[in-house]
Symmetry: C2
Subunit: 527 residues, 2 copies
């Protein structure tokens, strides 16, 4: 059996280094002019800057040793070789194959790659047909609206990509392209608001469910079916209006969905890793096949980087190890992701699922009780909105949080005054990281209040309320533009980060038994 | 000076009770048939059920004693009397006055109430004019679209109310009522997507900023101004298209906004408590004056309840004290809010600001360093979406979280199959609370796998991965329908919960100095 992480020699060495490192304030660390040399890494269109993490070269070296000792490098080879690393379900976790298009010798074998490529081309061709308004509804009018039904992984991934690409100067969907709506929540109001905006005879429904038994999605499907019929669609024409994406095509067929509109993916794709598969179909329609291929290429570039870059330049490895450092040694229970680009409005929610569903576990691979803290609570959203809402607690609360700042150097919105907007975002991106790291001491605060001419009594009374302890660790991931490639690389980087942490913690990132009991108990409440 | 909370006698008594209570599993607690008697409270259209909290009558009694000893009841009187309880800014926190309409003897005095009432009537009259399409743009066409610019408290509150009321069977905005868009983020893409949907000569802009110096909002304002001009609006007609809501009307005037379209609120309204003031204007327009009055009445009913109900039946007091129990004694660092109604999609984000900006503090009122953990990290969203995303970690992760389940008994969406949707939401609402509390033991899991016919080896190997420890504390707040009254009562209940906790922790819930340093450092990066 695998040893407990805490029994590894590197783990113990890191523990020995922790107290001193924890006490060294970021204010001091950031004074070192040499720091930029070893805390900046570029790859696959992304730049990682971890200068604002509470690490030094000795800790970084031991974290790399920990990865080695915990078997990260061997397990990485197993992941890409398609070995059944999802041991509780006896399956591989082969999402890298989904973006492996065109590789001469894919490590997971030609057979799998061929299947993936065929299905991808089917999806992209269908997306092109819909975008070209060549798909006709029951009244022979072209389809111009798409409703995607799906929840969890069948919603968050494609929705996030659709939204991001709608804010990419490199993509810019045209007005004639179809409008894509996403509905996930089974409360009928979610669907009612969307149906109100759609003409039934010009609407395509995509039903996404890995098992095709998801109660929430099937309930929504029944209501949309009813809506088509009530709007005048002849029963025999419903097939023109419904597509399915599933790993269980016979179930979709049982629901009357045509084979040529049923797109497959495989049991070895976890829902939260499925955006690269046919689950991406609504994003292929909204952003276009070309953008989607570039998104896949960005993911593939990150796969290549993760497999070949040396540890000190390996972005996903560093993200994972810094996460372990914050989590297990600096004891930070939550991890915040702040995105400084409106297109990334759902990015945190997407990573929240990926990370928490993967690493929210409390048994080791062999079933023994966990000996370490595993995946953190991931939260956040758009950074600038957060500054006006919950950042108060990050600056002056009693709860530590580590923070990832995600930034885009040139947002490039099509406003006449767009440059001013980019500038406001850019200065806040930088200022928040520095303010959180550096803080403002009592002496500095008191001096400032006096300088502002505050009466001495008031200055003395108020200064403690206006002190910032600082020392909040963060890192920045930036890209030049919000391109499909950069987004693909970013998503894959987080996937591999989560994987690295699961190996260190010796848990299975690819099952999700924790969702089972609630479903069973809900079923028992059925009449 | 006030004593530290940890030095209070009741605090120490609770500490003495904690270990035993922490060890008593919710599975055992919930077996007590008598439990429903003292864990259910109804008031102001809300039902609170805290049977799934790890408390017993002895702890509840001591928590009430703690409230007493910490001065909650006196401070409650000070709050409602308009005393300057925001000591670091020398102001009262008089948001209850905003919903005090029509009181014969308001505790904060007739003068304040009269000012509030006048401004409320101005706002509601303006909203009526806009809804009736009687406001004309530069081309004399009626205004039919509203864009609200504001961030933080000038965005989250009215946006949350607008969205909720759009999903209320009691409100149902009509198609002829204006569309209201909200833009908060300064990345130009946020605004560009909205402008694309609007005709400039039929659009009203509302600029919301307490100080009227908020950089993000003013940058957006400049671009919308440019858009009006570029769309053909004569410079001298821009006044027809712009309204302002601010506590600094002279600044709005300096920006050329007409006095009859400038609506005031007061320095004593914190941004996160301002939804009841003129800041609610876009929600008054989208949901209507009648619904907004009912929303205020719901808040006032909760104020009345909070001031007069005995502790054991006092919803906000119980919410606050149970929060302290989870936070300080059971050591739960995060608090999750899961809403089971699509209309409440932004409710968690709204409460997240209210709670974290209020209680994310680390000095006591007198400026001495904090001796206890204060406000938790608040996170969550729509419960059913969460079940398919991050609930895995709540069920099987290593991080404790306390949970508020918010439910609506009759969602009442206008779908032909609406009842099926309501049913799916209802069974999940109940099943998740029970699953999280009860869990499933190793023996139960093993028996189940055997019953399902799994081979013995596999059953033994897999059972640990499929065990649920349970014992996750939650509470449920439910309402019959998502009416404006119930929503108002719910928001006010959380405001008072946050207040109760701030008194116990002896901190100032009404300042937010923690947002200052980032702003200063951003300003220093200006060219």
């Amino acid at each position: 059996m695998d040893p407990k992480p805490t029994q590894l020699a590197a783990w113990k060495r890191i523990q020995g280094l922790t107290e001193e490192a924890a006490q060294e304030h970021l204010r001091h660390l950031l004074r070192d002019p040499d720091r930029a040399r070893w805390t900046r890494v570029e790859a696959a269109g992304l730049q990682l800057d971890f200068s604002h993490q509470k690490v030094n070269p000795a800790i970084l070296e031991q974290l790399t040793a920990l990865a080695d000792e915990a078997g990260v490098f061997e397990r990485r080879a197993s992941l890409f070789a398609g070995e059944p690393i999802n041991t509780t379900e006896g399956r591989p976790a082969l999402h890298p194959a989904l973006r492996g298009q065109g590789q001469a010798h894919p490590p997971w074998g030609q057979h799998i790659q061929a299947e993936v490529d065929v299905e991808l081309e089917r999806c992209l061709a269908f997306a092109s047909t819909v975008r070209a308004r060549e798909l006709l509804g029951w009244s022979d009018k072209p389809i111009d609206t798409v409703i995607n039904l799906g929840i969890g992984g069948s919603d968050l991934g494609p929705r996030m990509v659709s939204e991001a690409m709608a804010c990419s100067p490199a993509v810019r969907p045209l007005p004639q392209h179809p409008t894509v709506h996403y509905v996930s929540n089974p409360d009928g109001w979610a669907l009612a608001h969307v149906l109100r905006q759609c003409a039934a005879d010009r609407t395509l429904l995509i039903v996404q469910s890995k098992s095709f038994t998801t109660q929430e999605t099937l309930t929504l499907f029944a209501s949309v079916r009813r809506w088509f019929l009530d709007s005048g669609c002849p029963e025999e024409c419903i097939g023109r209006h419904v597509a399915a994406v599933t790993a269980n095509p016979s179930k979709a067929e049982a629901h009357g969905i045509a084979r040529d509109k049923t797109f497959h993916f495989w049991e070895w794709v976890g829902g939260r890793y499925s955006v690269w598969s046919a689950i991406g179909l609504p994003a292929m329609i909204s952003a276009g096949p070309e953008a989607f291929r570039e998104f896949l290429a960005g993911g593939a570039a990150m796969d290549q980087h993760f497999q070949t870059a040396p540890p000190a330049q390996n972005i996903p490895l560093l993200l994972g190890l810094l996460g372990v450092w914050n989590r297990n040694f600096l004891r930070t229970p939550t991890h915040h992701i702040a995105a400084y680009a409106y297109g990334l409005q759902r990015f945190t929610a997407f990573i929240q699922q990926m990370d928490m569903e993967s690493n929210g576990k409390r048994v080791h691979l062999d079933g023994s009780p966990i000996g370490v803290l595993t995946g953190p609570i991931v939260w956040g959203g758009l950074g600038i909105d957060g500054q006006h809402a919950y950042f108060q607690l990050l600056h002056q609360g009693t709860h530590p949080s580590s923070i990832d700042f995600i930034g885009v150097q040139s947002l490039g919105s099509p406003l006449p005054l767009g440059g001013d907007h980019d500038h406001v975002v850019a200065i806040n991106f930088q200022a928040q990281q520095d303010a959180l790291a550096l803080g403002r001491t009592h002496a500095e605060t008191l001096a400032l209040l006096r300088e502002q001419g505050m009466a001495e009594d008031d200055a003395v009374r108020l200064a403690p309320h206006r002190v910032f302890d600082g020392d909040v660790p963060s890192l920045a991931i930036t890209m030049k533009q919000l391109t499909p490639q950069a987004l693909g690389a970013l998503v894959a980087a987080y996937e591999h980060k989560v994987f690295v942490q699961s190996v260190v913690w010796n848990i299975n990132a690819y099952d999700q038994w924790g969702v089972e009991l609630g479903k069973t108990m809900a079923k028992a409440l059925e009449p």
